[in-house]
Symmetry: D2
Subunit: 300 residues, 4 copies
């Protein structure tokens, strides 16, 4: 029996909050953050992804993050793997399985090679060693690996254990169109939601990203299903200036964490090096964006 | 006497329309396009920029583009130089001067070196050989050259012939903040307007870009001056989904030209190789965006 | 009738010497340099290539370089095109034809797209507009375009006007093997000769590069034909430390020009920005290498 | 008391041999390989470096590699850290300390940021958490981080726990000159020895690399000390064609492992994905190079 495809909808990519000068993992903030996600109504959560700063956590910290999330919410969980090579990815997935058991909805594995055979063997090996369903993340900015969407589609099509694709190789809308047409599993947009309307139009199953207002992602995806472009656009417009502000190269993570902090969802907004801090010159504009964003109803 | 700084406001970056299977320069469409810009009320035009596909035009075609624009409108003109080295840049500026005379408001020259002395000598040599005011374009994606905003500011500060900066090294808002604080000349955002609100908040003098609805850029910049963030945001919201759609990596030029074509501003939307064509899968969404965008009043 | 393939052997890539603080083209040095090449016995010369700093010359300077070379030696000439787009490449080739007439053995055009159809159309258009034989240069470091060797081979195979390939996409030996097997025209190695032995073993027709001792390239290629690996290696060993010294990233051009200067082949070793100068810390070692290199017999 | 600087000389970067279709770590081959290094007379070994494929090993495999090496030879050991962020680097160093105790001569940590303060804080945190001496590896091709040599020198100069630098940011000879002049610790060249003569001339303390004939590296470094350039060149010439052959972009690791296999030092030459395999077209030339290389005396 093959692993079940992910549910379409909005999957929140969970930031890892830190506290103090040592930037220790702040489990209290983390719990508060994922509770907010659950209350807001997300389909599931993605933990230890790129924007969860997984690459800057040690094994014990990763375990603590997984435990906190699992203990706090009942949502299905996707867990990111940081490595590109097979053996350490398997080790990462096993850690997730050890902590989460059948709460693990999928292991998110990066596209590690442009060569279809190499990529296929890698994904197969991870699945065979762990039994986990695989969410394939195509994110060249992080992996350093670029593959054409049609080649990726042909590579993944015969792999029954692939449970979703996270399409983050810009331009994403045509990539989503190619992947959704070829594959029977959901394809999610990411990248902070900057292309959300266009990815939905191209057939995406929703968004898997960490935009600081998941309420906006949810409103837009729900509206798309119910009324198509016009209504989704209506719901989404008010968030778009903040989306663009947040999704700035190199500083996106720091900006997002500061938004989460100002919303009261985490206590401090520090990021671990080598991630960049938020320039002070952006603070006033961040506040303007937050003041203008639609106020979610019935949440908090 | 030093050349005068550019006027703040919106400078339209003019696309070069082509026609037929040979993709010949379509001067009729070009004239119609710049007439539209003038009627819409832009401060000036930027011709032969990156998105004017200057790098794919030969000398005779560049001359024809300059002549057509100069003959059609009365706006001040910035002309882009494609090369990175001094001697060919001087040759390009001289061509512009030959055709435009004192219509040339500035020669746009790329940041060609991260070394302050080398860059400074380059800009100085171009100015001394031509007398032209220099618009410095910081666009690493095209030039391959990255320089920190504070280093660029210190390099340009002592150069009295610099008449503007076009800041296109993301993240642009903190770069605009650094540059405007250090320099006495206007700093413009570009990149299709994707960061327009945040660049204005950081002190930019406006936008110099080729977004297919200059009316939107104009409305936003005008509103910013009159009412600040809130009113500018209000004016800008309706254009933002199209801005993001248009500003897609690699295909931005093709998408923009198709928008211009669907607006009736140019006859054909072909781009010259090696620029990429617009994926057919995006066409329906392009039409949805165009139907939803605010309809400019009193234009066309 | 199709243009004739290039002769196999050694094609010298000619540096453009400059003089004085203005770095004016030094035609006297240029003449001396190409005379040396002719006396040394090269098969032909490549002028206005990347290491001829063509991208930093204006049209008049390019014309002067071509005239000087044509007036000084009787060798067949390949002329490089700097642009990536079709129209300006055609303009560059026409300039070469205007000056050289049937002395032009081939126009060297860069691989401008990884898409076989786009590349094929580009090369075809340049040939059809000019009638020139095309030397295809695959040099991703300069063009920014990467294409797999087998894809390049399939793209070029049906094009009867391609007269040679310059393979400079490392690792070059397997690329040369793939290209020579598929194509009926000579494939040359470049990159300063750093992989010369291995490219010859893979089937290359020789070297097209600007190493400061063409005598070494000639001795090695001649020995390879006569005695294979062992004798070629014997001839080449003494030059190899200088080859590696010269072929240093970013500073290769400056190092090479200083070698040419110390040999007395050019008067000054200045390079035009944005090319980097030679670090002073390398000067003593440069002299050691020059003192140890085999002394060419019967030349100078 | 600060950790002692590394001994100058040749440090062998140890490949990790694999066997069978599963590419399991082959501890027998690994033992044979490091015994060879010890017999050849290297100063020390670098284990779990980039060319030890550390990034493709899981924790258990890394431990096994460290144990095998420690059990087989008495040499001082440098151990590479794969991560760029502080917490996981500390975890990696602790694993090395747990297995090696005071056999650990230094933990090799990558330059993780171009920002002097961020890099300095990173290195300091790793040292303070572990007490380990730090070998700083400047290898932009792998880390994605570029920093100017003079900035790196100024950053490292005040850090008393830095025990060596591995300079692998080309062009390396001027970088070595800058670093050795500023720092009181040895600076080693790497990159397969391609710039060995020039790095020694610039003041390097030797080589830290995995060239398949450490005998050559040793002979060259020894000769440099005794007789300077001339004698070192004499010893090195015969190896240089193989050095260049081995140091080919992307396939260097696979070529090197095949050389080690043909020498009888490891049983199989497989590499783990996403590392690339050796093209079959290179095999004959590899054999020619091996047959021509100077035959080490008294070893095997």
């Amino acid at each position: 029996m093959h692993p079940a495809p992910l549910e379409p909808g909005v999957w929140g990519v969970v930031a890892t909050p830190f506290s103090g000068s040592t930037l220790a993992v702040d489990e209290t903030s983390l719990a508060r953050l994922v509770e907010h996600y659950e209350r807001a109504g997300v389909t599931g959560l993605t933990v230890l992804g790129v924007f969860g700063e997984a690459a800057s956590l040690d094994t014990q910290e990763r375990r603590a993050v997984l435990e906190t999330v699992a203990d706090t919410v009942d949502l299905p969980l996707v867990v990111g793997a940081t490595s590109l090579a097979t053996a350490p990815v398997i080790e990462e997935v096993r850690l997730a399985q050890e902590v989460l058991g059948d709460r693990l909805a999928g292991a998110m594995v990066q596209v590690s090679s442009p060569d279809p055979e190499v990529l296929s063997a890698h994904l197969r090996a991870v699945h065979e060693a762990t039994g986990a369903g695989i969410v394939v993340q195509d994110y060249p900015l992080v992996s350093g690996v670029s593959v054409r969407a049609d080649v990726l589609a042909r590579t993944l099509e015969p792999l029954p254990f692939v449970v979703a694709v996270k399409a983050e190789a810009p331009p994403t809308p045509p990539a989503v169109a190619t992947l959704t047409q070829a594959l029977g599993v959901p394809v999610f947009g990411g990248l902070g939601g900057q292309g959300l309307l266009d990815e939905l139009a191209a057939g995406s199953a929703g968004a898997m990203t960490g935009f600081s207002f998941p309420e906006g992602l949810l409103a837009c995806v729900r509206a798309w299903r119910e009324g198509g472009y016009e209504t989704a656009r209506e719901e989404w417009l008010g968030y778009l200036p903040l989306v663009n502000f947040e999704q700035q190269v190199r500083i996106a993570l720091a900006v997002r964490k500061e938004c989460l902090r100002q919303r009261g969802l985490i206590l401090e907004s520090g990021v671990r090096a080598p991630a960049a801090s938020m320039p002070a010159s952006l603070l006033d504009q961040l506040k303007r964006h937050l003041a203008a964003v639609p106020q979610p109803v019935g949440v908090r």
